[in-house]
């Protein structure tokens, strides 16, 4: 049977993480379909049809799908489920919101946040904040899965020419309504797909001081992240949070500035290729995972580093 991917997109274009999910799907089976559910989402569907390795695009285009409400998306996916052995989505806040709803209606135990695929039934997933990896084998007839994007390379976004087929929406559930969105605007690369990430913690001290982190990030063409403490203190918005309960990142280079290295933070960044830690406390646990630790005051080090780069 084929595999269905629930794509993450903004109606115009596909979110890059979807390409990582395609790679995961293709490790299970070669017949991979992708669902674009949205409003006036032809552009996103066209983009999806070009993705390498996709065999069919399903497009569900309806007004009630404009804000990705789980209550409206779920019935479409459940309606399609008969034809698929596996249904995959990225383990983003989007996928995490919708997929368990789908799984419950299919009476399937979802497998969250998979990081490796052994065979069509057997998957690895991190748990306990990534301090352990479970290999689990599912006995459910249908698998509902969310995929950790950083664990799979993105597939090529070009080269495919798959057909686009329309799928009806089930209408508005009338259970929920979208009110508004406040999205952080930034010209910097997106946190979870950036090659370099510079993150600040409580040690940065204030929102104003985060300008130091921003300046270093801009010099490196990097994304900016943060620890929970920095978010809680209001230095930066919530979507900067890296960690067990925030975003998982695995860039080539992660620079942790004024971050102690609590296990919940490490859970979100310890798979980075190289880690730099800048901290004045030489006992800070972050140095335990750092390739290049620099002990000292960030208010001296960060400006000097930015200057010399």
């Amino acid at each position: 049977m084929s595999i269905l991917i629930l794509a993450e997109h903004d109606h115009q274009s596909i979110k890059p993480v979807t390409l990582n999910v395609v790679t995961a799907a293709r490790q299970i089976d070669a017949d991979v379909h992708i669902l674009i559910a949205g409003t006036d989402c032809s552009a996103a569907a066209d983009e999806a049809s070009k993705i390498h390795g996709i065999t069919k695009v399903l497009k569900s285009d309806a007004p009630e799908l404009s804000h990705r409400l789980a209550e409206n998306l779920t019935p479409i996916i459940v309606g399609l489920a008969d034809s698929y052995s596996h249904i995959l989505a990225p383990a983003t806040t989007f996928g995490k919101n919708v997929m368990p709803r789908v799984a419950a209606l299919l009476d399937t135990q979802q497998i969250s946040d998979i990081s490796a695929i052994h065979d069509a039934d057997t998957f690895d997933r991190p748990f306990y904040a990534g301090n352990a990896i479970a290999t689990v084998k599912s006995s459910d007839a249908k698998k509902v899965i969310t995929v950790r994007g950083t664990a799979f390379d993105p597939t090529k976004s070009e080269g495919g020419t798959s057909p686009i087929e329309d799928v009806a929406s089930n209408g508005d559930s009338s259970l929920s309504n979208f009110v508004k969105q406040e999205l952080s605007k930034s010209d910097r690369p997106e946190l979870t797909s950036a090659k370099i990430v510079v993150s600040g913690g409580r040690g940065v001290g204030s929102g104003e001081n985060f300008a130091l982190i921003d300046a270093l990030a801009d010099k490196l063409g990097a994304a900016v992240g943060a620890s929970r403490a920095a978010v809680d203190a209001g230095y930066v918005p919530n979507d900067y949070q890296v960690g067990q309960t925030g975003k998982v990142v695995a860039p080539e280079l992660y620079i942790a500035v004024g971050i102690s290295g609590a296990i919940q933070h490490l859970a979100g960044m310890k798979d980075s290729k190289y880690i730099v830690a800048i901290n004045k406390d030489e006992e800070a646990p972050i140095f335990g995972v750092a390739d290049y630790g620099l002990v000292g005051d960030l208010f001296d080090i960060v400006p000097e580093l930015t200057e010399k780069l």
């Binding site: 804000h67 209550e71 806040t93 368990p100 352990a132 067990q244 750092a290 290049y292 010399k308």
Partner: protein
């Protein structure tokens, strides 16, 4: 309004866990257990709503071993009026009671207790599933307000501000509904000693999964549990110049 708050007994967030030598699971003997932090936030939110007069009764529910009664007592010390333990000796982190089974148990209790809404954690910090609330909402055909950093109740609706990857989103959902908490919804209080004492006298019902006709047979069998590859850290550089040199010439990442 009546509210149901599922609370889970899980390894304390400060504990550095160890994988069992036979790779069958996590070593839980003599490990400090606490209420899942997200569930503390859920109890706190319900308690605040009770103090504000919106909520009249808070029922805390847990699925777990006899010891999970302690978790219910903690919930009652913060503000729950009574507790229900659905007792099982099956593990609750992996290879035992899974989110789908928890959601089915909660559905059965919702049908019995008829709460106006359910507020619970977005994620257990042991299994890191982030599923149960959404599953419960689906099984009840209720709307869901997940990853909430702000909740307002009015006129049979809840306005929920959600933490999403790009920032914040606000939705309005009809009650009854399931709300799941994110970290910034509130700061849970410490239970006072008098409240801890009072909690000991609050009603606590114990039942078995069979009483609710729920099958706890896991769908996912555990092939093995391993430790992630250890990172060789601890490298130090003396100054900014050395750092730049290493990044350029050794790591070649800039």
């Amino acid at each position: 309004m009546k509210v149901l708050v599922p609370v889970k007994r899980a390894v304390d967030f400060n504990v550095k866990i160890r994988v069992k030598a036979d790779n069958s699971g996590i070593e839980l003997n003599n490990v400090k257990m606490s209420m899942n932090p997200f569930d503390e936030i859920a109890i706190e939110e319900a308690t605040k709503l009770k103090e504000a007069g919106t909520v009249t009764e808070i029922i805390a529910v847990t699925i777990g071993p006899d010891k999970a009664q302690e978790t219910l007592r903690t919930a009652m010390a913060i503000g729950a009026d009574r507790g229900i333990l659905v007792e099982t000796d099956a593990p609750t982190d992996i290879g035992g009671v899974e989110p789908l089974a928890v959601a089915k148990t909660l559905k059965a209790l919702v049908e019995k207790e008829k709460p106006d809404f359910v507020i619970m954690g977005k994620q257990s910090i042991d299994d890191d599933s982030n599923q149960t609330g959404q599953m419960l909402a689906a099984l009840l055909n209720w709307p869901q307000g997940t990853f909430a950093s702000k909740v307002e109740l009015n006129d049979g609706k809840a306005t929920v501000t959600r933490e999403i990857d790009g920032g914040l989103e606000t939705i309005e959902i009809n009650l009854p509904a399931v709300i799941t908490t994110d970290l910034r919804l509130n700061e849970p209080r410490y239970a006072s000693l008098p409240n801890i004492m009072k909690a000991k006298k609050k009603p606590l019902d114990v039942m078995k999964p069979e009483d609710l006709n729920i099958d706890y047979t896991p769908r996912l069998s555990v092939v093995k549990v391993t430790e992630p590859p250890k990172r060789v850290g601890g490298g130090k550089v003396a100054d900014v110049d050395e750092l730049i040199d290493k990044l350029r010439n050794e790591a070649k990442v800039i």
